[in-house]
Symmetry: C2
Subunit: 406 residues, 2 copies
């Protein structure tokens, strides 16, 4: 048979999904799999958002839309940003097919093959894959779970800048660490980007989900760095509509957006049905997110309580988003996550988690870490934690306490 | 400001869309623009396909789907192929975000940066852009409008194969030439692909639209070349649902599909609302397409009648699809198409066309050709042809007949 490309064979395997074939086999054996591997919450959305999605005001077929996204959606989305004290204009935002496409378009638009972007580690695993697709090298800035995932110092960012560095990419709140960047850090990063003539790309998919004691500061609030700042946004997590595939690329650098629109024109338009939904969702009253935040906060509390009862488990309480990155007494998180699906059950159930290795580009990091998405109700979370607790007693690759090794 | 990547600045500008800003300005001046620039037909779809799209059988939110597409859609789509005498299995088809994504994934999966694919010319213009995104070089095989766009001879394909050739890409029926590949040609191309260990990629987005006297032969009907054949398909044109953004990548080479699924997993899932629509659409009775074919055939006849009445206009009657690629007595199709929008009107109207240059990769080709999409009803087509006829009398860049130059 003809050969495959080298790049497809080298392509990063998504830690959220690479074990799905195993999970399917587990379910076939009659075992319930509790999916905490992916950020897909179970909250119902206001039902009328999905009724009459393609109403009589629309044509009686589904045409291509505008490459940059429908005018009405761009208006609704930029208006929505006023809740973050951001004054956006229509032209500052182009609609993409999920944040995924926004990330790919941004990388292609700011960097050529062989160029570099700096990304604080751990980071959203699929950045690895999109960087590979674009031929861009990720230069990671490591921070450790033992230290509570501190945001790297500005001097550390600066030290990492090289002749091929094109930008700094981060997610705020951070997936998977749950860290939230404060205003001062973002201002300092914008100053650094200006000094070295770099882009500052901030993925704000989780900006609605910041817990008590912390506050969200959008990179679009930064002043004096309009040419440098790019924000990536998404309808998915914000409105529990991951499957609509609607995201956005936001910048006041219109020359950049106009150039990136060439890529948007190639794929003709973002999904029209998802856009019709998004226009309605972005006009929901802010109480909608107040309620979601309360629910997530309760789930988070319960999860932390359960983990506190387990031995040799280390975490940093999330400040935002809905993930917990946790260190476990295990030899290999890939092996552990697979084993949970292939060789383990507790009362007819098991739990699917995302192995930590995928969230680093530094080889060997994350081997004893997993990501838990607290996206299900407290009952499901409890069942999942029962599984985890039991698994950590019988998993064959458990790290022995140092004393017993001697 | 920070620089843009070289590649985004070099990115191919879509001939279907690059003049849209001009068209917007035209409309602002109160002039009606008849859009024959893009393959977006005006046929109503059965209305119940769009009602109750997200019914009670589904969760009360819109979750991520399966990266390879929803099981139900894959089943409906493979079953639909029986109408082309193709026996497909569930695993032979993965769902993509439009055919656009299928093309990009296929190129990334079979070719590394710097590799080549052979494409008969003229071809679907956006192949140029997707090849650029993937860093793959298009080696084109020219055929001329004067000769009626003959499909290149097998010897010509063979002569073009070099050490970096990874595949042959064609669309059948061809957009923009309207040529239909016959069974013998496809069998010969598959044999060539086997002999040189190449992929044969066939874009069959228009397979429902083949006119009297011609018949469609799907590359999935080819036997003995399962590892080599890749078909690209789309819901868009087939069901007048371009905006749903649902396409497919089809192959019996499962190793290839499994590898490409890594790209699919990165972007998580195809649009779920569009997939819900597609499941219903693929189960429409075949009378639906019989009627569409009749309507397109009538539009085609009227368009050809009108062109026959104009001087110095050359075309080859389309055998399939719904485009007419036509040679006009003009100096420069880009200039002409822009001029139609900026400096021309006839009875308060003008027509937007796609300049021919974008459908070639050979520089200088297509300069006196335009693509006309006959996707509107006969009244609109007549109005558009009134405009074209009038324009060809007053356009400042008209080619003078040789006699008058002397």
């Amino acid at each position: 048979m003809p050969t495959l490309s080298k790049r497809v064979q080298d392509t990063f395997a998504s830690p959220f999904r690479k074990f799905l074939p195993l999970a399917r086999a587990t379910k076939k054996r009659g075992i319930e799999v509790i999916h905490l591997n992916i950020g897909q919450p179970d909250f119902a959305m206001p039902t009328d958002l999905l009724n009459n999605l393609w109403d009589d005001s629309k044509p009686n077929f589904v045409p291509y839309g505008v490459a940059e996204g429908e005018d009405e959606l761009r208006k609704a989305w930029t208006a929505y940003y006023s809740k973050f004290n951001v004054d956006l204009r229509f032209k500052d935002l182009i609609v993409t097919t999920g944040a995924s496409e926004a990330i790919l378009f941004a990388l292609l638009g700011i960097a050529d093959a062989g160029d570099e972007i700096i990304v604080p580690e751990p980071f959203y695993a699929n950045y690895n894959g999109f960087a590979q697709m674009a031929g861009v090298n990720i230069v990671s800035l490591f921070s450790s779970i033992e230290d509570g995932f501190p945001i790297p110092k500005i001097e550390d960012f600066e030290r990492t800048i090289g002749p091929r560095t094109r930008g700094i990419l981060l997610s705020n709140p951070n997936n998977p660490s749950g860290k939230v960047y404060d205003e001062d850090t973002l201002i300092a990063l914008a100053a650094l980007a200006k000094q070295y003539n770099l882009y500052l790309l901030v993925d704000e998919a989780y900006s609605e989900f910041v817990y008590e004691g912390f506050s969200f500061y959008s990179a679009m609030q930064l002043s004096g760095a309009d040419d440098h700042v790019i924000v990536i946004d998404s309808i998915s997590k914000r409105f529990n509509a991951c499957g609509t595939r609607v995201g956005a690329l936001i910048s006041r650098n219109h020359q950049l957006l106009e150039n990136i629109t060439r890529y948007a024109r190639l794929r003709l338009s973002p999904p029209m049905l998802g856009q019709a939904f998004s226009i309605k969702a972005l006009q929901l009253p802010s109480e909608y997110h107040d309620r979601l935040r309360t629910d997530f906060s309760n789930r988070r509390s319960r999860l932390l309580e359960r983990l506190d009862q387990m031995e040799d488990v280390l975490y940093h309480a999330p400040e935002g988003a809905f993930y917990l990155f946790v260190q476990l007494p295990i030899d290999d998180s890939d092996r552990f996550c697979a084993w949970l699906l292939t060789d383990f059950e507790y009362e007819g159930r098991t739990v699917m988690l995302a192995p930590g290795t995928g969230f680093y580009s530094t080889p060997g990091k994350g081997k004893d870490e997993v990501r838990i998405a607290y996206i299900l109700d407290v009952d499901h979370l409890n069942n999942a934690m029962d599984c985890l607790e039991a698994a950590l007693k019988v998993y064959p690759g458990l790290k022995k306490p140092v004393a017993s090794v001697v």
